[in-house]
């Protein structure tokens, strides 16, 4: 959620039950302003909170002028001192894939994973050895935030527009989705580089507006039904909750510009989703 409308956004997202305490909110308002100035970001988003056993991580993201450019992620343990996280790579994802369980809350904590590695010495047969690999919690944090972003960070249709030169900008004339559109999954897009857009047939592409429909919509998400759309407060607030990453809440007030998402959760994917639907 945008730091400029932090208070309103937190109140709108409060339906999921988790928010921030007043002291954290006060700290965020001041510190994120300083982050924006120091790092010279165009927009700073408060991404959410990952609950650990010992401490919680507060995550913020900074965006440049081009909204789809890779975002910089910062974390903090007390909402005051922010540290930049390294960008996510595929090796990190591979390392982190075997780590299970909750986050500890200590960035220097190391998870020990035993892996089978085939070692072959000269001239002998390759044999398997148990190698204990240590994965740092920071790596896991980076990878999980990246996965969540790629999977479930969403924006309403029309909030961003794409210029002919390529960069994506915030649409200042976005007036909000009408109520009839707000209930459909196709009005929400993934906030990441489009993956399945080019697989659409020409007939489908003919109906799309190239400046607004340049991202993947939620309609084709697998598994089907992994989003829960609800209208709260008597249809004056649309809330989307992800079932794949429980804890992610997206809110939007129809016919206004307010929208945003926040993740407050344990940072674990819900692998049992197909059993639960």
């Amino acid at each position: 959620m945008d730091t400029e409308s932090l208070m309103l956004s937190l109140e709108l997202a409060a339906g999921s039950g988790q928010g921030l305490s007043p002291d954290r909110r006060a700290a965020l308002l001041t510190s994120l302003l300083l982050v924006k100035r120091d790092y010279r970001y165009n927009r700073v988003l408060f991404w959410g909170r990952i609950l650990g056993i010992v401490a919680d991580y507060y995550i913020a993201q900074g965006l440049a002028e081009d909204q789809l450019a890779p975002r910089k992620t910062l974390y903090s343990l007390n909402c005051m001192e922010w540290s930049l996280l390294p960008p996510a790579t595929e090796e990190m994802a591979a390392q982190v894939a075997t780590v299970k369980g909750r986050f500890m809350g200590d960035p220097s904590h190391e998870y020990e994973q035993t892996e089978f590695q085939k070692m072959s010495s000269e001239g002998e047969k390759p044999f398997e050895e148990d190698v204990v690999v240590q994965v740092k919690e920071e790596t896991r944090l980076v990878s999980v935030i990246d996965q969540i972003d790629k999977a479930v960070a969403i924006i309403p249709r029309g909030a961003f527009f794409k210029t002919p030169y390529g960069p994506v900008h915030v649409n200042r004339t976005f007036e909000g989705l009408p109520l009839s559109e707000a209930k459909k999954l196709s009005s929400y897009f993934h906030f990441r580089e489009p993956v399945s857009l080019k697989n659409k047939t020409l007939l489908e592409k003919a109906d799309l507006d190239p400046s607004l429909d340049f991202l993947d919509s939620l309609e084709y998400d697998i598994p089907k039904g992994s989003w829960s759309i609800q209208l709260e407060r008597g249809n004056s607030l649309v809330v989307l909750r992800s079932l794949l990453w429980p804890g992610l809440t997206f809110f939007h007030t129809p016919r206004t510009r307010n929208h945003g998402y926040i993740y407050v959760g344990t940072g674990e994917k819900n692998m049992d989703l197909p059993f639960m639907l």
């Binding site: 109140e11 409060a14 339906g15 999921s16 039950g17 988790q18 928010g19 921030l20 305490s21 007043p22 002291d23 954290r24 609950l51 056993i53 010992v54 007390n78 299970k100 369980g101 909750r102 109520l179 039904g225 829960s228 759309i229 609800q230 209208l231 709260e232 407060r233 008597g234 249809n235 004056s236 909750r241 079932l243 429980p246 959760g265 344990t266 692998m271 049992d272 059993f275 639960m276 639907l277």
Partner: protein
Amino acid sequence: MQPTYEMAEKQKALFIRGSGDREQDMEEEVADTAVPNIMEAAFHLEQAGVGLSAEESFRIYLALKQLVEQQPVHTCRFWGKILGLRRSYLVAEVEFREGEEEGEEEEGEELLEGAEALEPPGGEEEGEEDEEKVADAVPKPQWKPPPAVPKEESRTGANKYLYFVCAEPGRQWARLPHVTPAQIVCARKIRKFFTGHLDAPVVSYPPFPGNEANYLRAQIARISAATHISPLGFYQFGEEEGDEEDEGGAGRDSFEENPDFEGIPVLELVDSLANWVHHAQHILPQGRCTWVNPLQKTDEEEELGEEEEKGDEGPEEVEQEVGPPLLTPLSEDAEIMNMAPWTTRLSCSLCPQYSVAVVRSNLWPGAYAFASGKKFENLYIGWGHKYSPDNFNPALPAPVQQEYASGPEITEMSDPTVEEEQALRAAQEQALAATEEEEEDEEEEEDEDLDD
């Protein structure tokens, strides 16, 4: 935009005070009201970063007030919110006044008894018919379903409180039925999201005995039993009644507020889990809080039992299940995968003197408890599922049952074909003809003998 205005109208109705003498109403309300101070609890929980927004909490307070006016409520509490796919549930935990029996429960029981009464006469009629057609008697199955564990009485164990749910403050409160042990046992094995409609079916394996209202009630029972905690000393046991040894160590199941509770300093509450205790009874594997031997026959069954053979008894002895007694401290809770089951936090590390101690459950994500001075409160906001570090393994279906062994007595023999029948008849005629010729030969021989 109709639904928006409709909702706003309903919520407006909450805000309007009832008619009557204003002064008297005010005094009555201030004197005794069953509705708790939700705003205070919400304020404290907000310090911990938990809970719905303040405006929503106020609306919930008004909705609870409406519930108290409509139902004969003795105490009530906002239990929490369970999120669903299409709608969410706001849950209120309620205790009726003494003597107010739940009319719906009786209706349900009458229906069940009526259905059971119909079955035995049907069985008797079938018995008579069978006696007439002995040759075509269908073998009766010898399998008897395992005896059902009886559900707990109202106001005891898992059914200690009544629960009401509604989708949004302003809507009608719906009552949830009491929970049966079979439902709790099944709810432990399945993992399903709630859709938000109480009459939705729960499609699962093992098949859940009930619809979403029952599943919701079972999950609420499990969450309450596992996560309702209070600071040590807030509740104490009442005076002892009877011998504990006679009850087989069942333990005490009632407690009362301790009037001398002084409050534990917040720092101590955060440091050690032994300062918190469970004040909800643990649910045994059987599905109840107090153990009941399912093989004990009731009076009706004993009369029938004398006629039947008693060969089936004997090897089925069931062990008594024992759980942790009431008011056990949290430090005795089992760990999850080397991780503490509870996380304690000070709500604000910058001002510890005015902070609130917050405890978060790692076993049921979404369950929170706070304590500050002499006040404490429990709240649950979440999806209603237990945390399990391993992936969910659904129960496998039962193995395929053995078929009846095929032997000669049930193997179907093929009918002889026309050619075979004709060949047989031809052979029989030949045999007949042969015997006739022999007889004629014998007669001729006899004649010849006679002639000589």
